[in-house]
Amino acid sequence: MNTLTKSDAQTLSTEQARPVLDVIDVTIRYGEKPAINKVSLSIPQHRITAIIGPSGCGKSTLLRAFNRMNDFIPNVGMEGQILYMGSDIYARQVDPVEVRRRIGMVFQKPNPFPKSIFQNVAWGPSINGFSGNLEARVEQSIRRAALWEEVSDRLHESALALSGGQQQRLCIARALAMEPDVILMDEPCSALDPVSTARIEDLMFELKERYTIVIVTHNMQQAARVSNLTAFLENGSLVEFGETDQVFTRPQHKRTEDYVTGRFG
């Protein structure tokens, strides 16, 4: 993995890139009703994978299955397997807390803790037994989230004083501070203005060199702009999954074509 250079990673096709997450025949139910129906796909390393689809198609449910955030919703049942680096994250002996340390998440609405900027970023490492230089880790994470210039002189002020876009980048910095392998983003720009959205999209391009990113978005232009791979979900089923260029320009399925050309959804 470490021997791959940036250009190597870009020339690798989907099949050759090592899968970080393997979704095998996954069905997720809320009570009786399936929200995700027999979905299989694999998410390659150091790529941005977008999950698109109309509202209620189950894209967030699928994303939240990757770091076991669905565990908190009562009456959720799951069948099938999700492998992270080859091992089943739903296996009996796996601690979900351990999974979430490796697979970070950024939410739809920016949700910084009502504390200082510094504390927001430092909390994750400090509760997970980080013993190195906390200040350096915080600075590095905020720099990687392209927020350092804007906040370096007010690290100890409240995170709630930041703008929405800055708050979302702070949430990204907070996730980066855990040094995760994968970052899940659940419609990270839907509450942001176009300028902030563009900044976060730029940021995603930089981040994919180090991290694997999975983004759920209802915004097809965004999926087309930022992602390497696109999965199209409808009614809980995976309709199409492939290179973003191909999904948007030469979709294999009629439904995909109708959706990406804006005929419905």
Binding site: F72, F107, M178
Partner: protein, 286 residues
């Protein structure tokens, strides 16, 4: 036509605002009248001697030292027991317990307990603490009885405060690999703290003013000593006030009024402290 209707709508708003203001002021006016009436009667007896003397059958020598100290003991012990137990119960019910039939049953029952008349708690305290656990008519038995009385209030208020914490904060904490306890301890509790403290203030104010359960468990009405430990007998301010007010002599009625002033000031000091703590918590929480 249209502007006419608009004018009527504005008039309705104005009426409603006046009505609300009147209701809000009614509370303040009633309290002011009460305070005025009580101070006029009692202020003359209110001096250092009143605070440092034990009760006496001569009004000129009577003081409320034992009742004041009894109340202080009662409040400290009750707070020491009820706050940790009540907040812990609320945290368990809100953050840890599975939401099922049993937890619903518990929730309904806590709600019912909050409405049980205080005299019933007095009977329970008498049977359970004074007799069965053989604590006697001690400050400890009184505090445990008061704890039973205010626990439901604390639990309900603390649960409401925890429920008001946005779920996005918990999600953010869990997504960073926090355990439930880490998320609750570091992120949820600080946000809920001001609300929890408000509930605690209300509950403690209720405890300081309650008389019936203490009479029931047999707190003494004439005490010429200050409790030195949790197992000592005691009296409390409301009991002393009740005792004085029920005597025929006018002077004792005025002593009762003075006692009421002391009780109100104690209550005010307590609440002020809690509000101060709450504001500090709010500031550091931001």
């Amino acid at each position: 036509m249209r502007s006419d209707r608009l004018r009527r709508r504005h008039a309705t708003t104005k009426c409603f605002r006046l009505l609300c203001a009147a209701v809000a002021w009614a509370g303040i006016v009633i309290l002011a009248v009460l305070l005025f009436h009580v101070s006029r009667e009692g202020i003359r007896w209110l001096d250092l001697q009143f605070l440092t003397e034990f009760p006496s059958r001569f009004p000129e020598q009577a003081g409320i030292k034992s009742a004041l100290w009894g109340t202080v003991w009662l409040i400290i012990l009750t707070a020491g027991i009820s706050i940790p137990v009540g907040v812990a119960a609320a945290i368990y019910l809100e953050e840890f317990s599975p939401k099922n039939r049993l937890s619903q049953l518990i929730e309904v029952n806590i709600g019912n307990l909050a409405g049980v008349p205080s005299i019933v708690y007095g009977i329970l305290g008498l049977v359970l603490f004074v007799r069965f656990l053989a604590l006697g008519r001690s400050v400890l038995a009184g505090s445990l009885t008061m704890t039973l009385l205010i626990l439901p209030v604390i639990i309900i208020a603390a649960r409401e405060a925890l429920r008001a914490v946005p779920d996005s904060i918990r999600q953010a904490a869990f997504a960073l690999g926090a355990t439930r306890w880490q998320a609750v301890r570091a992120q949820v509790l600080p946000v809920a703290l001001p609300g929890i403290l408000t509930g605690v203030i209300l509950a403690m104010s209720r405890a300081i003013g309650e008389t019936a359960p203490l009479v029931m468990i047999g707190a003494l009405t004439y005490v010429a000593f200050v409790p030195e430990g949790p197992m000592d007998a005691f009296t409390a301010l409301p009991i002393q006030i009740f005792n004085w007010a029920s005597r025929p002599q006018e002077n004792f009625h005025q002593l009762a009024a003075a006692g009421i002033i002391v009780l109100l000031v104690t209550l005010l000091l307590m609440n002020a402290t809690a509000v101060w703590i709450r504001q500090r918590a709010e500031r550091t929480g931001r």
